[in-house]
Symmetry: C2
Subunit: 206 residues, 2 copies
Amino acid sequence: MATLAPATPKGDAVASDRILRAATGLFCERGYHGTSVRTLARVLRLETASLYYHFPSKQEILFAILDRTLDDLLDGLRRAVAAADGAEQRLRAAVRYHVLFHAHRRQEAFVSHSELRSLTPGHLRRVVAKRDQYEDVFRGLLTAGVRGGVFQVPDVKLTAAAILSMCTGVALWFSEGGRLAPEAIAGRYVEIIVRSVDRRGKGPRS
Amino acid sequence: MATLAPATPKGDAVASDRILRAATGLFCERGYHGTSVRTLARVLRLETASLYYHFPSKQEILFAILDRTLDDLLDGLRRAVAAADGAEQRLRAAVRYHVLFHAHRRQEAFVSHSELRSLTPGHLRRVVAKRDQYEDVFRGLLTAGVRGGVFQVPDVKLTAAAILSMCTGVALWFSEGGRLAPEAIAGRYVEIIVRSVDRRGKGPRS
DNA sequence: GTCTATAACTAGATAGAC
DNA sequence: GTCTATCTAGTTATAGAC
């Protein structure tokens, strides 16, 4: 589960990684348009001109954050799913991974969802393509379970969206020193979701 | 279900309602900090100075949107719950109402979630207090069901957060001309959620 | 209730020294 | 690789005419 660790060690990060980390925190807290290049520079104890040596524009900083985060997210999901057997175990692994990622890398995950609208059209297209691939993995897991007779899901597309909304929400409220550890949250979410798609659950309006 | 209709008829809205409607659309699309007062004025075919006759600041426009939306949301939820009997029916009514609101009043709902961070501290406090009341209703419904022996929910607080994240997500992707009508989506969400909390569902790791 | 004109400030970005 | 200095344009908000 390498993608759950920060992308670079905190001690001796190269300059561009320092910038991305600081930008992630600010974009998470105040939003992309709510964060000025001057503010970002001040946090980094640099002048604004110095930032432009590392990135050609503020927009490229945002894109780098989203692009890297989505790469890590998708890569980790594929590993997690590949390590499990059977439809239910694969769905459990996928949900667990998604929740852990959104807890451990909360700020990056939050920005990746909240700042899609701040991307230029070209950047947006590339990021959305990756997000769609990610969603397709979940749809595939549900479809496999339905075909295998272990899940009962009337609308795979809608259910995948519902599951992902629920799990992504963790990035909105998770706090490191909070009541529940990431693993505990992930465990509960897995149970909630598996119950809701399980063939043995109660039927509609029964 | 009066709160699912627009707050004011579109034809002869008073000026401040016209402003709030236009601002809601822009804040939803580009964010609060991504929308300039000039842009808002242009959309309304006014000069920026004219806006300041109706609202003292851009911040007050944002607050008015969130405050009204949360009032309507909480009011409608209480009505919906009061009209149902029994723990399961009440939860069904609450989830259905929440989803319908987030589909029918998508932009207001979206802004109310995404722009909390753009509120000044005083405004934020007031809005968060209302949001907490809203969440408390859901927690109360789950607790009642657990006490009545119809729900099996190990962690009411976490489950309420999970349910609300899932349903609120509808405001992110719902489209009026889309494949599914609001009622169809609400119906599916109700089933997903009721299954996941029902006592008769499969137990943990069974 | 809407306008023109503008004040006071901040935005993203660049030139060129060191 | 970071700095000082600065450009151009855009920002929220106000004064005062109509």
